[in-house]
Symmetry: C2
């Protein structure tokens, strides 16, 4: 776990807790050997080894890439909301994936907000309507460092109802 | 395995062979307990049980849905080409997924060509240029029978080089 604190929030601890929850609640992620490699309030990197995620051609299976990229976007939102003291249900609504080049080794999926998106507007919508939407971009780099698989996805967060 | 023969081609046998290859070559599909439930030359249905593919909310994990939908499209092309006596490498190039409603049970991903696509044009391109592209649509139905998750994806097939 590589991480650092931002504005008094211990993202390393939040990320460790979330990683445990993911691995506990989503059994397929245990087979994928998913882990949260890095996290702060604005970016997150999820990692997975090639071996359990390999396909028939010896490179990373597109389904594993899609899974890890989507989870990276989902985890980005969950962590940022927890850092702000908010517990919400977060759902992916749609996603667009581009498979640009094969991925021949262990991989990282790095996610951040898409251009034009703002945490401030998101939290304002969540406060006023109990619902907020955000677009996220994420990518897995190939061995040359260029994006090999990219995702753009839209997520919705619903604030848990007060008891 | 529910299947039937078309124009003398035994799709049940082709599908059984392909299912074995997928489960053997892509380890994550064994955890998903993927199987080919139905196949003819124009449609294919892949099936997976909920339990190994569940998420933190108790419904199907988006990554598993994306995986099974993408594999359904991929398998549709591979089977149809094998039925035509062609062995190619098939890759997904890009995909667009919509998560419309949660999937609360075991699920099927059904794939077919997108509107406007033609096997004839695809095979002609493969014959003349050694490369063909096809767009595929696939969906997983929810418990009410309406599409709960949909995929539109573009695949490319490359004919194996002659020795």
């Amino acid at each position: 776990m590589i991480s650092f604190r931002t504005a008094g929030v211990d993202f390393a601890r939040l990320a460790t807790d979330l990683e445990h929850e993911i691995l506990n609640d989503i059994p397929i992620t245990r087979t994928m050997q998913l882990r949260i490699a890095q996290a702060d309030g604005d970016r997150i990197a999820l990692a997975a080894p090639l071996a359990p995620n390999v396909n028939d051609k010896g490179c990373a299976f597109g389904g594993s890439l899609a899974s890890v990229l989507t989870l990276a976007g989902w985890a980005l939102l969950v962590l940022r909301m927890r850092a702000a003291g908010q517990e919400c249900e977060v759902y992916v609504q749609d996603s667009h994936l581009k498979y640009l080049a094969p991925v021949w080794g262990d991989f990282f999926a790095e996610a951040q907000l898409a251009d034009g998106e703002s945490w401030e507007a998101f939290f304002a919508a969540l406060a006023s309507r109990g619902k907020g939407r955000l677009r996220v971009v994420a990518s897995v780099a190939g061995s040359d460092g260029a994006p090999a698989t990219t995702l753009e996805a839209r997520f919705v967060a619903l604030r848990a109802k007060a008891a």
